[in-house]
Symmetry: C2
Subunit: 207 residues, 2 copies
């Protein structure tokens, strides 16, 4: 039991680190660059290249994509509308935590439903009171015909044969953003040009 | 449709940023400092102070605790054994992602079950092939009697009256770590001394 020789009664009030402290340390503001687009549209390629360019410029950046999320945190979810919604909800929360930690966070998921993307923006912006909009929706706009022609994982072929269901663009809808923050025609321009377009739009965050 | 004027056939192979690139940029290695202990043991106080000291020393650090996880990512979970297990599983995955991003990540959750903590270590260490152990279990060891006397959120009183059930230490077990990486007697030493003990053990990560 505590007594006067024990310092258990000392009241200690640690000051929580503020976003301003972090911004000063990292010379940037944490944010979320949310890529949306069809399978095969180039989201992951752009995300990984954007991350590399940011790191090269001295920025702390990190990509959330299928590789590190679908097989880990979200391994318990399926591709039903409810599973997709929960997938996006969790990713939005994780992206918000990474942004809180000061990281320029890039997400690369199909995220086909406009409502889920709006909800992701809301989650990312509501974790801190008074935060300005730190969410940027990037529409990686590649026509379905080109995505299907590329078909890097042979998923369109499987979907056409009915071997997989609920595939976005074939059996499930992709609700294209009507007013994305950044619009990239990824099949019409080389990767570095697309990345440069995105980088230009991140000046608010110290890039 | 793509034609010879469209560069869609250009193969682009972005190089994924390696942990070494990040370590060079941030001058530290991402890791997870996992605090475990009873409610009222001082986990969050220590976590927040440790984070502040790390930031002051120029390290990128971030605390995951009830404030930013239970009401967000894990708002859908209850305090049943299954709910607690899923809570810890998700936190471990998020901590692993933050550590992958290069952050010194501090978690402050009761995490009462030894098996769940072992699983958390496994998740944190298995996300990268060949990664050395980057998980440090910190036992915030404060006797139940002192925690109950402090009762900062009046939860022990409620548990004793039966108004809440499954409360760790009263109706639910706390499985104390047998061989924690770091053992802190948080009721016997002032907060800054406890934080210093933890900091000393983080030299492997560049602290």
């Amino acid at each position: 039991m505590p007594n006067k020789h024990h310092p258990t009664n000392i009241k200690w009030h640690p000051t929580r680190v503020t976003p301003e402290h972090r911004a000063r340390l990292l010379q940037q503001h944490g944010c979320v660059v949310w890529m949306t687009g069809l399978s095969g549209s180039g989201k992951s390629t752009l995300a990984v290249e954007l991350e590399a360019q940011l790191i090269q410029r001295g920025h702390a950046a990190y990509v959330l994509d299928g590789d590190n999320v679908r097989h880990g945190l979200n391994a318990d979810l399926d591709f039903s509308p409810a599973g997709r919604r929960e997938n996006i909800r969790r990713i939005a929360h994780v992206a918000a935590l990474l942004a809180d930690a000061g990281i320029i966070t890039i997400t690369a998921f199909i995220s086909p439903y406009a409502e889920d993307r709006a909800s992701a923006r809301n989650i990312v912006n509501s974790t801190r009171a008074g935060a300005t909009d730190r969410f940027r929706e990037v529409f990686v706009d590649t026509p379905l015909s080109i995505c299907e022609q590329r078909d890097p994982k042979a998923l369109y072929a499987k979907a056409r044969r009915g071997e997989i269901t609920d595939f976005t663009g074939i059996q499930a809808p992709f609700e294209a953003p009507r007013a994305p923050d950044i619009h990239v025609h990824a099949s019409a321009h080389p990767v570095p040009d697309c990345v440069a377009i995105i980088l230009e739009q991140l000046q608010d965050f110290g890039v």
